[in-house]
Symmetry: C3
Subunit: 187 residues, 3 copies
């Protein structure tokens, strides 16, 4: 009977464990990414002279601005559409592994800030599918977080956070963003 | 005692089962939609002559474009706002069951591609609420997936994937998209 | 033996309970917010005369509109960028606790309706981080729901629904939105 009692005790503890596992599922998923990837993307804004190389263009501007030159007041009101190459390192001339496609809008008069809606689109042997992003980008901060709001293909139903860092900025024509993608929901 | 032992064994297996169920909850939800719906929506772009019928209009364009005619270079930079009827079949003249509202931006110079942000808005006896979408639409592909990023009302907290298919395309004025919505998170 | 049998029965029931808990995790999370917050934000649209006070500006407009005056036909096609103060009460002059940043597009000709993409950005002792929103805003309805599609910082991975209510509307220059945020996924 001693053995049986000990066995019962073990069983009981196991049951308790299974209950606590069930009710705290979400906490177990938090804070440790199930997938992490770092990419760079490169944005060359059309400025009237670089039509061949440009990967982005101003398509909306405030009443006091135009669509060739970024407006004053920290570009407030400029809406930029982009189709930027994504690379694995910080070299603009590396073979792209995908395209960053979408838009940003400068949305503040007294400092550089933008709102982003875009996707990473992959169609290579390594990755097929897309990751969708949205969020505020206070681009004077060294790093800033936006949301991964969904994904398709290899990134089916993904959710997470992406940490952006401006890796280079040349005049008002070129910038490069380091994107550290941390997915916390992977299917 | 034999019976008791057998019973203990069963109990133990049941406990194990409950543990594995708890820790793999997310996998059980994956890959099989909890809700699936197919809709069509119809986009008639304003071209300067069809103000009465148009359901969409260009509101942003690159420096080299205008807001009446879609620009060259695969419409790169054109931002289009729409309020399109949703129907259950592919007939533009069927009674709409809702409205597709939002925008798309053509974002690539060398091929047709767009970025979409929009909602399906329902207010009928059949459906009340909205489904929100975002994602890249490489519209030359036969089918392409975007994300369902949220929902309200009947579609409270929905997440999933929507497969778009261009069902018709007439010149640069009319297109019809078949939208196969697969929700993988239903509350 | 009687005691042992009773104990076995209890164990069995506990096991059953743990199984049902595991398989219905999602239902337990539904319908009761894990976090609820009410904020107000204040939008002052640039109209050619209020450059100093304006917090928003038209940056896209249909072919028949311009970027200083909201267009006819219920502003259909006007794209507005904003950086609005967020307050805890409905007083424009209260100390802001954050900024609402993003855009809306009026998307319907025969009634006021807009599509919203924006963030609440907080950087105070009380809240640090951002909440990202997207959805349709049929602004003639007393209340309307949009989606919380993600969050960062204190609002890491948040999802939910935000109920908007127009709290004030003065001419075509100022409006104030009450935003009742209900998060149903908190990490």
């Amino acid at each position: 009977m001693e053995a049986a009692k000990r066995f019962l005790l073990v069983l009981f503890l196991v049951s308790l464990l299974s209950i606590s596992t069930a009710t705290t599922t979400r906490k177990f998923r938090a804070r440790k990414p199930c997938k992490r990837m770092v990419f760079y993307f490169h944005d060359i804004i059309y400025n009237g002279k670089n039509a061949k190389n440009a990967t982005a263009a101003i398509v909306g501007a405030p009443a006091w601005g135009n669509r060739t030159i970024l407006s004053g007041q920290n570009h407030f009101g400029d809406l930029v559409v982009f189709d930027d190459p994504i690379t694995l390192d910080n070299n603009l001339h590396s073979t792209p592994v995908g395209r960053a496609q979408g838009f940003y809008i400068y949305d503040k008069k007294d400092i550089f800030t933008a709102w982003l809606g875009f996707s990473f689109v992959f169609n290579s042997t390594q990755h097929k599918g897309s990751i969708n992003f949205a969020g505020a980008d206070p681009l004077m901060n060294k790093t800033r977080d936006i949301s991964v709001i969904g994904g398709t293909g290899d990134f089916f139903m993904a959710r997470g956070v992406a940490t952006l860092m401006t890796d280079a900025f040349e005049g008002e024509v070129y910038f490069r963003l380091r994107t550290d993608i941390k997915l916390y929901e992977c299917w």
